[in-house]
Amino acid sequence: MPEVLKAPLVVEFPFTRSLGPVQSAFLTGLRERVVLGVRAADGRTLVPPVEYDPVTAEEIRDLVPVASTGTVTTWAWNHAPRRGQPLATPFAWVLVRLDGADTALLHALDVPGPDAVRTGMRVRIRWAAERVGAITDIACFEAHAGGAAPDGGDPDALPDDRVTGIVAPARLDYTYSPGRAQSAYIAALSTRRTVGERCPTCRKVYVPPRGACPTCGVPTTEQVEVGPRGTVTTFCIVNIKAKNLDIEVPYVYAHIALDGAGLALHGRIGGIPYDQVRMGLRVEPVWTEGARYPDHYRPTGEPDADYDVYKELL
């Protein structure tokens, strides 16, 4: 059995976020070295602030400044920081209740080691040198030997150029494996053969194979070579250029039922003007050196397939 393939898959995207009035004020405040909380209906000051009261569900907008000093309410040691975390050296994740606040804020505490952290310890904000209106404007917390610092000032005095949006980059690292059946399919493609798998129950041939028949719910193991020729069952003419594809428009994107396959796969049609492609056109793959998949499919010159022959494959 050929080796089962594996490869890293990184899913990464910078999402934009509109902040709304409360988060806008909070992040604008951080840029100006002011920490704002919001007053809830029960009189508590919530930091970070929220838009809606967690008890009454009513809209809350009464922003109040709190101090840049506070108390650690609990913590956990991070011995191996990862990319994108607040500090590159080992640090403590802390919940800090800032002086004047009734709830705690999650952030990083820069201390030499876990022995230097304790619940109840006094800390203060270390501001980032360059602040843009983001939670990272607080570079981290650091130990603080004194009492409460005065609060940061008047929320109504914030400058007019408010931060209204942020970019929140998301990244997920996966190890992707296409599994046994698709690995065998890909291995066969390297010799320019298309090998699917037949369902033992319904006898349909899956290309690419998935290792199981989704209709019958049984494993598929019998390998069956299909094609190389096939029939265009249906298609569209693409007139808009995709960002990450180096293909001139217009081009034809077709569903192609390879001879012997139980369902169509998708490919590009070339070697014929785009406006002459038709349902039923007989095609064959065109390979380029070193490519995993056929570059495109071109007409074979055979007469078109009769509609009745491929209509079940549409």
Binding site: L5, A7, P8, L9, V11, F13, F15, T16, R17, S18, L19, G20, Q23, V50, E51, Y52, D53, P54, V55, T56, A57, E59, T164, G165, A170, Y176, P178, C199, C202, K204, V205, Y206, C213, P214, T215, T233, T234, F235, C236, I237, V238, N239, I240, A242, N244, L245, I247, Y253, A254, H255, G262, L263, H266, G267, M279, R292, Y293, Y307, K311, L314
Partner: protein, 388 residues
């Protein structure tokens, strides 16, 4: 023991637009939920549970809306859960909420679906760079366009039918203050002259990208009796799914769609949908899906759906109005689009649809689908409670 009848007593949506930069996602959902509660004349305290739906996580990167949005939706201290079924999610979310009431688990449930497409990227979310796979060559429109061509071949429909649907839906949208697209100067000629993106689909026959949210308050008989405005009663609701691709799949008229409709009709005692149902709000992201779904849902025989469109039957003043709101072709916050269909059906039977109200709206079908035509959800609502 029979099921508890379920009533829709509150409906709220935001004015759908290209970008709502003035609000957070929390602010957006709040607006729709608040309007639904106001319509029902209820407060947050009257709601027993919240059921929320949204587009697939990668679209806008919100992984746990049930966590992030609990306070905005007054759900603190209450059950809150999230439903996932791709583009049909708004419909299946409403059905999960309805089932909680029907099963007497909760008396009054707030259900809501949303999307901010301006802060999202559906195209990216649908084309992740999966190792060893060929990149998707054509995008969402390119995925559906070949199925439209297959429908045209199978039915022999003239190629103008798609433009008739787009022209109708965009005119309907002019009567709906919440619709995203308000193309006051729309003409059939303009639709037909718009560029081909994925031949046979033209630019004007595709849906926009919208920011919006939709919410409904569902309740039991006792709740309906207290409602200040006429309720819409759920007469039947069902969901079905099938794989995206499998040998024997009918991409033009998927079996799961037929089965889903048949289940709804059986529950509601509908034997002839064309005769028994007064209007349909269906999920049509590309104009040709109107005649395709008319057949799939049993309003026309196979190959005959386009004749209803061509004859004007599906116009707002036709015998079977379709997409009175302007449809997905005029408004498409993907995660909310299914629920907007369900809500429009309910608005119609309540007589609350304003300028786009149809005259006889005793029973109206709401329909949603998603993924590669693999998830279906539908409900039939009526002005009168179900027979017990």
């Amino acid at each position: 023991m029979s099921k508890e009848p379920v009533a829709v007593v509150g409906i709220g949506q935001t004015k759908h637009v290209a970008a709502r930069r003035d609000v957070s996602i929390a602010g957006l959902v709040r607006e729709a939920a608040r309007r639904a509660l106001d319509d029902a004349e209820l407060t947050w305290a009257d709601v027993d549970a919240v059921v929320i739906g949204k587009a697939p996580d990668f679209f806008e990167g919100v992984m746990m809306p049930e966590l992030y949005l609990a306070d905005a939706l007054g759900a603190v201290g209450k059950p809150m859960l999230r439903v996932h079924t791709a583009g049909s999610v708004g419909g299946s979310t409403a059905l999960v909420a309805a089932n909680l009431v029907a099963a007497r688990v909760h008396g009054t449930v707030l259900t809501l679906a949303f999307e901010k497409q301006s802060e999202s990227n559906a195209m990216w979310g649908l084309s992740l760079p999966i190792p060893f796979q060929q990149p998707l060559l054509a995008g969402a429109g390119g995925f559906f366009a070949p199925h439209v061509r297959a429908y045209m071949r199978r039915s022999g429909a003239p190629d103008t039918v798609g433009s008739l649907v787009a022209y109708k839906d965009r005119r309907n949208a002019l009567k709906n203050p919440y619709a995203h697209l308000h193309e006051h100067d729309i003409t059939l000629e303009k639709v037909q002259a718009s560029p081909m993106l994925w031949d046979p689909i033209r630019y004007s026959e595709t849906c926009p990208s919208s920011d919006g949210a939709c919410a409904m308050v569902l309740t039991d008989r006792a709740g309906a009796a207290r409602a200040p405005r006429p309720p819409a009663w759920v007469l039947g609701g069902a969901m079905r799914s099938e794989p995206t691709l499998f040998a024997g799949k009918d991409a033009v008229s998927p079996q799961a769609g037929k089965d889903c409709a048949a289940d709804v009709y059986r529950q509601a005692g509908v034997t002839d949908p064309r005769r028994d149902i007064d209007a349909v709000e269906m999920y049509v992201p590309f104009s040709w899906y109107e005649p395709m779904w008319l057949e799939n849902l049993g309003f026309a025989d196979e190959g005959e759906g386009w004749k209803l469109t061509e004859a004007g039957v599906t116009e707002l003043d036709g015998d079977l109005p379709v997409n009175m709101s302007g449809g997905v072709l005029s408004t498409n916050p993907i995660g909310a689009s299914g629920m907007i269909r369900f809500a429009e059906a309910a608005l119609q039977v309540r007589g609350q649809a304003g300028e786009h109200q149809v005259e006889r709206a005793g029973k109206v079908l709401g329909h949603a689908y998603g993924g590669g035509s693999q998830f279906f959800s539908m409900w039939l609502v009526g002005a009168r409670p179900p027979m017990s």
